[in-house]
């Protein structure tokens, strides 16, 4: 937990993200049919999902930890990570929809990847609604931890496995080439990989700030 409170990686994260913002828009990219300049979206769309997966994984780990230890702090980490993940989920969906408008022709074109992402979004909304429906703190923490552990594998199946088995237009699914295999040249790698790592840490940073705020609130409300 020491790591969370240190400054150096936060500075590094901001610097790398600034670098990917500028380099992503300025550096050269391969010219592909249909894609053209929209391939730059891969720098901004894919890292959102990476960040989402990171915080959701942390969330489920802390839900398991909560069930074992029963410490309220662990529940706070789990819920704040889930909140942050939902935020990245929305940003990832919106950036994907903007890209889809220019390459597939519609913001929402009934693609399996889009549909299952929407279902997974409902899943985490249900988690947040479930939390709101219970007043008693310990009961809420326990039940929502159980649902979170239940929901995470379903989310992975929905986003990672199901679209791959059907005819999705999304790169990497349904027999379409992913960017990594055919089209990605070294000019893109120097931007893409730092963007992945930096946005993951950005997600962790946002979640840790939210956690610290809710921890202060929790301590303020506690009866000594």
């Amino acid at each position: 937990m020491k790591f969370i409170y240190q400054t150096w990686w936060k500075v590094l994260t901001v610097l790398v993200i600034l670098y990917t913002l500028f380099a992503g828009l300025l550096l050269g990219v391969p010219r592909l049919p249909i894609m053209h300049e929209t391939i730059r979206n891969v720098y901004f769309h894919v890292p959102m999902w990476m960040a989402m997966f990171t915080v959701f994984t942390i969330s489920v780990v802390y839900s398991i930890k909560y069930l074992i230890s029963g410490k309220p702090e662990h529940d706070l980490v789990a819920v704040e990570c889930a909140n942050t993940g939902v935020f990245f989920f929305v940003v990832g969906l919106v950036t994907g929809m903007m890209w889809a408008k220019y390459t597939w022709g519609e913001y929402w074109s009934n693609d399996p990847k889009q549909n299952s992402a929407a279902i997974a979004f409902l899943l985490y909304c249900a988690y947040l609604v479930l939390r709101n429906s219970i007043d008693e703190e310990q009961k809420r923490a326990k039940i929502s931890a159980v649902y979170n552990i239940f929901a995470f594998p379903v989310m992975v199946v929905l986003i990672m496995i199901l679209p791959r088995m059907t005819d999705s237009l999304h790169p990497g699914n349904g027999g379409n080439p992913a960017f990594g295999k055919l089209d990605l040249d070294n000019r893109m790698r120097v931007v893409l990989y730092p963007a992945f790592i930096a946005w993951c840490f950005m997600g962790v940073w946002i979640a840790s700030i939210r956690y610290r705020i809710s921890l202060i609130e929790y301590k303020k409300n506690a009866i000594d």
């Binding site: 429906s133 219970i134 931890a145 159980v146 594998p153």
Partner: protein
């Protein structure tokens, strides 16, 4: 082995209680029959529906949607029906694994019976266009087992949270959608009488989902029931 004998006794008790009142069974059966009848009347308002091109697609999808809502109604009773003091009594005499396992097995039995009857009633009203009836029947059985395993755990969560009906639907639909998509795709192949081999992958995934859900329920339920 104590868990198994406890499960056996609890299962016997569930069936006995259901046999005495026949409330869940008759209630859901009536629900299914009236839904099918409403659909039958509503769809036949437009003349020539049964001979239209989209009929087989509607036949398949409509059946699964009716099954989905029937399953939500049938399964939500499994924990909501129990009074608080009776649950407390179970917990003092049996292990949590035995409780959830007996509920899952009971729900599987109930759902299988209901879905077979539902299929019969449905085929009575809507002209049968099945190409491979036996395989379709197998998919329906597998579907009812999947509904039972998923909804049992969700209904335990919803019952613990206090306000049953709404929460049950909100929590279960995102979880059940991948299952129902696989089921619709597989049963469509059975319906068109295409080659079975192309759908064995889907069947495998459904079985894997069932195993994972039952495993997760066995691990997670002990944390859920203690207050």
């Amino acid at each position: 082995m104590q868990v198994l004998s406890q499960t056996k006794h609890l299962l016997k008790k569930e069936i006995l209680l259901e046999w005495r009142s026949k409330y869940a069974f008759n209630g859901v059966l009536l629900y299914i029959v009236s839904t099918v009848f409403v659909c039958y009347i509503a769809f036949n308002l437009s003349a020539g529906f049964t001979h239209s091109q989209g009929y087989p697609v509607v036949w398949n999808v409509l059946f699964w949607i009716i099954m989905l809502f029937a399953a939500v109604n049938a399964m939500s009773k499994s924990f909501l029906q129990e009074s608080k003091s009776r649950l407390l009594y179970y917990y003092s005499i049996a292990s949590p694994q035995a409780i959830i396992l007996s509920k899952i097995i009971y729900n599987i039995l109930l759902m299988s019976l209901l879905s077979v009857l539902a299929l019969l009633v449905y085929m009575l009203f809507f002209t049968n266009t099945l190409g491979d009836p036996f395989y379709y029947f197998l998919v329906v059985l597998l579907g009812s087992i999947s509904f039972a395993t998923v909804f049992t755990m969700i209904s335990a969560i919803a019952a613990k949270a206090g306000n049953g009906g709404t929460l049950m639907a909100i929590l279960s639909f995102p979880v059940i959608i991948p299952v129902i998509l696989l089921l619709i795709r597989t049963s469509k192949v059975a319906m068109d009488g295409l080659e079975r081999g192309s759908t064995y992958g889907n069947i495998g995934i459904l079985c894997a989902i069932n195993v994972i859900v039952v495993g997760a329920s066995l691990i997670l339920f002990p944390y859920l029931w203690q207050d």
